[in-house]
Symmetry: C2
DNA sequence: CTCCTATGTTGACAGTGTCAAGCAGTGGTG
DNA sequence: CACCACTGCTTGACACTGTCAACATAGGAG
């Protein structure tokens, strides 16, 4: 985790983590299958944090509509505050959605369920969840990449979501 | 280009392109400042293609509302059909939005203007463009990463966009 | 005690980005 | 013509990386 706080996944080297742990350059191979194994663990932990943030935001919301916007805001906030963790979660060379790890699979399911239940409770149809996920994912990604500020992203998210909600 | 058709940016090595061009391992340094310079050029060309695809889609649409959905569909389609090109465009280690290259800057401006004009013509407020960009960007990214099919992404995009449009 | 497993070690290999120095043409200038 | 700058390329080196193989060591299970 602290690794991803400072460096992107692509810049993390096994030999460097070995040096940081004050062990030989090959010790990590007894804890991870290879470099991708390390990144997979980091991705799983990051995903757990992301899901937890969204879960908390939704569960403490005052009404169904703000549960959607608050959950979305938490998603965007995570992407911006932990850009490297967010990246590695969705890195197709690390986690292949078709064959997710045993740790990752339930987290993805929970994320989809959280967004789905909140959206349906707010009056959206089941199928529209994809749009909600896509919206906050895109805003989070673009914002983390520096294309606009967090405030703009959160405002755009809230604006788009209330437009999408019926009524 | 052909490079990105097969390999991700992170897997492209300068020495490999040198071998492919049948020159010495250091020849590329006379054409690019360094590895990042190569990726920058690839990103610029990819961005030009993406913008062209969106421009074409919007200009050939029959009415304002479908200009927005068609432009969004073109964006998503590009992300899915050229995932490596799409990735490198938004790779913060390649293109830093704060200080874009002279080639990249006008392309970003054009993309924003295309989306902006189409959205406003369809009745959206200027500020909502961020939401449109975020939506199609997120759907394209998630779809390219394999989290759902292109058809689902296009359907979700159209669904969300018509919900966002007034009236 | 013996054996196995987990964890660590050193040593080696190919591949990479990058720097430095030098070489061969080519085009323009005096 | 001679000269010079320059562009494109070359070879050679360096530190770094992921990964494999072989070996050491400790601690618990039988």
């Amino acid at each position: 985790m602290h690794l991803l706080a400072e460096k992107a996944a692509g810049e993390i080297s096994l030999r460097e983590v070995a040096r940081a742990a004050d062990v030989s350059h090959n010790a990590p191979y007894h804890h991870f299958s290879d470099r991708r194994g390390l990144l997979k663990v980091l991705a799983e932990r990051s995903m757990a944090d992301l899901v937890a943030a969204v879960r908390d935001a939704i569960s403490t919301a005052s009404d169904p509509a703000s549960a959607v916007t608050d959950g979305g805001a938490a998603y965007i906030r995570y992407a911006v505050e932990h850009p490297h963790g967010f990246d590695v979660i969705y890195d197709p060379t690390v986690c292949i959605p078709g064959e997710p790890s045993e740790t990752m699979a339930p987290l993805i399911v929970e994320l989809e369920q959280l967004l789905s239940e909140a959206s349906v409770a707010a009056g959206l149809e089941e199928q529209s969840v994809t749009g909600v996920w896509g919206l906050v994912h895109g805003l989070g990604t673009l914002c983390a990449a520096g294309h606009f500020t967090l405030d703009d992203a959160l405002a755009a998210s809230a604006d788009a979501l209330v437009r999408m909600l019926p009524g």
